[in-house]
Symmetry: D2
Subunit: 289 residues, 4 copies
C-alpha cells in the first residue's frame, strides 16, 4: 500500500489459460523494461487446464521506458500466449457515476470517502430518480441530475441516463441504493461495470424488502452484498459481503436502520477494489486481489 510517486506506477491485470512460464514471461518483460514489481497476486482455478489470473503493480522510470512501450510489449506477449490483459497507470482516475434514490447513507459514505481520498476517482455526476439529495451532492461540487422514473417513462428515463453517462465518458456506475431495476439494454452497455448494493446476505432474501423477510425468518445476523449487476436480478458476481449481529428485539424497521451501516461499508469496499483494479470476473464469481 506504499504509493510514492503514483505517476510512475501501473497496474496490470491478466487472465489466460494456465500454462507453464506465464509468470516468468510477464516478470521478465517487466524486468527488461526496467520496471520493478511492487506487488503481485495470482490465482489459478486449476494448475491443469484451468484459468490463470494475475495482478501486478509495478513502478518504472518514464525516462527509461515509456508507458506506451511497455503496453506495446504486452500486446505482443498477449498474442503469443492468448493473454487477456488490462494495463493502467495508477495515476489515471476512473470516471464514476453514482445513482441514488431517496436514502442517502451509501451516497454519503462514498462522497465522504471520495473527499477524504480513500476512493480515487472522478465523479462527473450523480443521477437520481428523486430530488432529495441534490443539496448534499452539489455541496461537493458535483452536478446532480434528477431523472424521475415511473412505470410509463422507464425506457425514456434510462435513455436519458445513458446519454448522460456517454457524454461524461463514465466507466463505472455505482448503484448506491438506487431502487430501480435496470433493463438489459442498460446493463449490456456497462458489462461488469455496474456495482449494486443489495441489502441482504445473498443468496438469502433475493428481491424486494429483504429486511422484512429477514425479520420474518428470525435470523440472528443480517447482511449486505455488493455485486456486479447482470440481467439476472441479484444474481451477478458477488464482490463483497458483510454482516452484523441482531436479536429478537430488532423490529423490521430496526433491521433496516441497522443494516445501513453494513450496506455502506460493503459497497465502499467493493467500489474501492474496482477503482484500484483489484477485481476480475470469472464465470459468475469475482477474484479479489
Amino acid at each position: 500500500m506504499i504509493s510514492h510517486n503514483r505517476e510512475q506506477r501501473a497496474r496490470l491485470l491478466v487472465s489466460c489459460p494456465d500454462q507453464p512460464g506465464i509468470v516468468a514471461h510477464i516478470s521478465t518483460l517487466l524486468f527488461t523494461h526496467k520496471a520493478n514489481i511492487v506487488q503481485s497476486d495470482q490465482y489459478s482455478t486449476d494448475p491443469e487446464n484451468g484459468t490463470f489470473f494475475m495482478r501486478v503493480e509495478f513502478e518504472w522510470n518514464e525516462s527509461d521506458t515509456s508507458f506506451e512501450a511497455i503496453h506495446h510489449a504486452f500486446v505482443s506477449l498477449a498474442g503469443v500466449h492468448s493473454l487477456q490483459f488490462k494495463l493502467e497507470r495508477a495515476s489515471r482516475k476512473k470516471r464514476m457515476a453514482l445513482f441514488v434514490s431517496k436514502e442517502n447513507h451509501c451516497l454519503s459514505e462514498l462522497l465522504w470517502k471520495w473527499k477524504a481520498g480513500e476512493l480515487v476517482a472522478d465523479i462527473p455526476l450523480v443521477i437520481s430518480n428523486h430530488d432529495d439529495n441534490r443539496i448534499e451532492v452539489e455541496s461537493y461540487g458535483i452536478p446532480f441530475f434528477h431523472i424521475p422514473s415511473t412505470k410509463n417513462n422507464r425506457k425514456e428515463a434510462e435513455e436519458e441516463a445513458l446519454t448522460l453517462l456517454r457524454e461524461h465518458r463514465i466507466e463505472l456506475v455505482v448503484l448506491a441504493r438506487y431502487m430501480q431495476i435496470l433493463t438489459p439494454n442498460f446493463v449490456s452497455a456497462y458489462p461488469y461495470k455496474i456495482i449494486n448494493i443489495h441489502h441482504s446476505f445473498l443468496p438469502a432474501f433475493i428481491g424486494a424488502n429483504p429486511y422484512a423477510k429477514a425479520f420474518e425468518r428470525g435470523v440472528k445476523l443480517i447482511g449486505a452484498t455488493a455485486h456486479y449487476v447482470t440481467d439476472d436480478l441479484d444474481e451477478g458476481p458477488i464482490i463483497e459481503q458483510d454482516i452484523m449481529r441482531v436479536n429478537h428485539r430488532h423490529t423490521a424497521s430496526d433491521l433496516r436502520i441497522a443494516g445501513r451501516n453494513i450496506e455502506r461499508i460493503a459497497l465502499a469496499r467493493a467500489v474501492s477494489w474496482h477503482l484500484n483494479d483489484q477485481l476480475l470476473v470469472h464465470g459468475n464469481k469475482t477474484i479479489v486481489f
Copy 2:
C-alpha cells in the same frame, strides 16, 4: 454470570399476553418468598396486545422457603394472569443425547466443553448411524449406540432411537452433524427440544450440500445455523448463526473444512443457551435471553 451456591438458585421462564403489572406481580411474589432476583430479562412483542416474555434468575434460602412453595405460588399466579411458566433449579442438569454421523467436529466440541464444565448437563448416551466415533465417545465414559440407518430400515431405526431416548429420560436431542432427516413422528416427540446445526447461513442454501452451493455462488462469507428442528426441513426457529470470511481461493472442499470451525461454535452456543434456560420460542423465532 456469578454462580455461588447453585443449589439455591433457580431460573424462571414466563410467557403471557402483555398486560400491566406482570413484572410487579412476579417480583413481589419472589420478594414475599425472600428470594433475591439476580438477573432478569424481558421482552414484549408489542406493549399493546403483544406477548410478554421474561426470564428471571433468583436465589433463595431453602431454610426460608422450599422450592416447592415457590413453584406452588407461581401455579396460582399463572392461573390468574394466563401465564405459561417454567421454573427450574439451576442445579438440576438436563439429560441430553447427542446424535452424530461420521464427522466428529461438533461432537468433539460438545464433549470437550461438557468435560470442561462449560456445558452443564448429563449425557446418558450418544447415538450414531455409523460406528466411527465409538472410541472417542466411550473415552468420556458415555455409552455409544450404533444404530445403522438405511432407506429400508429408517422407521425401525428411529423407533430404536426413540426407545433409547425414553429409557434414558432424554430432555434435549442435539444433532451434532447427524446426516439423517428425522420423521414427523420423531420430531413431535421432542417439540423445540431437538437442536440441529445446518452448515449454511440459513435461509441461504437450504438442503443438501450447502458448501458446494456456496462455492458455486461465489459467496464471500460462509455461515452456520443452529436451529430447533421442526417438520419443515431447515425451516425451524433459528437459535444462533455465525459466519467466516472466505475468498476465491477456497475450493468447495476448503469451504467444508473451514466451515467446521463455525459449525461447532454456533452449535455449542445454542446448546449452552438451551441448557441454561435462555431460549423461548415465539412463532417461528427464538428469543435469546
Copy 3:
C-alpha cells in the same frame, strides 16, 4: 426497540446497594401508577453486599398520571432504600456539543447519524481549535465556533469553551477527534459527561500516535476505544471498543486511514448509548444496558 408514542415513554436508571425487594418495589410503584414496563435490564456486582443497577423503559398515560407524580413517588422510594435514580422522558432531547480538530471522520459520522435520526439529541454548537470543518457543520444549520488553542492560551481557550457550553446548557460533550488534552477544571465540570474516542484498543497504546506504535509493534488487529474522560489520560471508563484486521502490508499511514472506520463506529455507538440513558458508571467501568 419499538417506540410508538415517545411522548409517554420514560427511562429510569437506578443504582443502590443490592437488597431483596428492589425490583418488586420499583415495578409495583410503576404498576400502581398504571405504567407498563416495556424493557428492563438489571445487574448486580454481587447479590451479597454488591451494588445493584437497573434500567427500565416504561410507558404511561399522562391522562392517568403525570410524569411529575411518578417522579415524586421515586423520590420517596429513593429515600427509603438509598436509591440513586435518574428518570427521563424519552422524548426529551439531550443537549450535546461536539469538539473536533482537523480530521472530520468522527464529526461527519455523528452529524450524518444525527440527521438520519439515529442519534436523538439537540446539537446547539460545534467547537473546534481549527476552522477547517466550518462549512460542513454550518451546512447542517449548526453554529460553529473556532477557538484556537495554543500552548500560551490554553486556559483562556478552555474558559471560552466552558462559557459557550454553559450558555447553551450543554449536557454531553463529545470529543470527535479533538486533539487537545482537557484540564481537570474542564473535566470536573462534566463528570462522566465527556466522551472521547481514542484511536487504539486501550489499554494498548495509551497517549499520542497510537497507530505509529501499533505499526511498530506489528499488531494484526487495530482498535478504537470510546471512553468517558477523567483526569487520567486515556484511563477513564471504557464504553465501547471495536477492532479491524490489518496485515504486514499496512504502513503506519494505512493504519491511520483504516482506523478511521472503526473510530467513527465505536464513537457513534457510545454516544448513542449515552443519549438513550443506557450507560451507568461503576468505579472505573461502565455498565451498558
Copy 4:
C-alpha cells in the same frame, strides 16, 4: 488451496534486498526446470532500498527434474543476488512438540485439528510440567513426558526437555498454554521456532493474569495473541490475534473461560501458518503469506 499430488509440490520462501528482476529470475528459474507456479505472494518493505519477501508454491514433475536440481539452482541464484531462501517439499511433515501445563483447551484443539488433517505435521511428543493431560495425549498415540518444574529444578527441567527435543529432532515447539517462562538458553536453541499463545490482546496486559487485568480495566473486548517467543517476555513477533466481545456481566473467571475459545483458535491458525511455511520474520514483525 488446491493440493493434488503433494509429492510434487514445493514451497519456496525468499528474502533479500529489494532489487529489480528478482521475480523474473526466480520465475524463470522455475520455468526452465519445467515447474509451474501455483501460488505466489510477495511483499517489499520499500521498493527503494527495502527488503523483499516472496513465497511461491510450485509443482514439478520429478521425471523432468529432481527436487535436488531445483534446490541446487536456487543455491546458485542466491549467491548472485544475496537471497536467503528456504525450499521445502510440501509433502515433508515438520516435527512439532507441544508443551502444556494443566489447562488443555489449546492442546485439545491442536490434537483434534492434527487428527482431522488440518495441521499437517508429525508430533513425536508432548511435554508437560503436570501429569494431568497424559491420558488424552496418549489416546492419540503420542508419547507424553511429565517433567515437573519447580523454582529449584528449572534449569535441570529445561535441560531434560531440550534433550528430548533434540532426540526427537523437533523443528517447532508450540507452547499450548505452558505456564512457564523459558530461559534464553532454551529460546536460543529454537529461534523463531517457538510459538506461544498469550491470553491477551498484546501489547495490552503483558505478563501474568491478563484476564484479571482486563476485568479490572473494564474492557469490552478480550483478546489472544499467538507470537514467536524471544527473550523479551510477550514481546516477540506477533503472528496472529483474535478477540471476542464481553460485557459488564463477565467476571474475571468468565473472561478466562470465554477467552479459551479465542486462544485455541488464534494458536491453531498460527501453528498452521508456520507448518505451511507461510511465515517470515522481519525485525520484530511477521509477514503472513
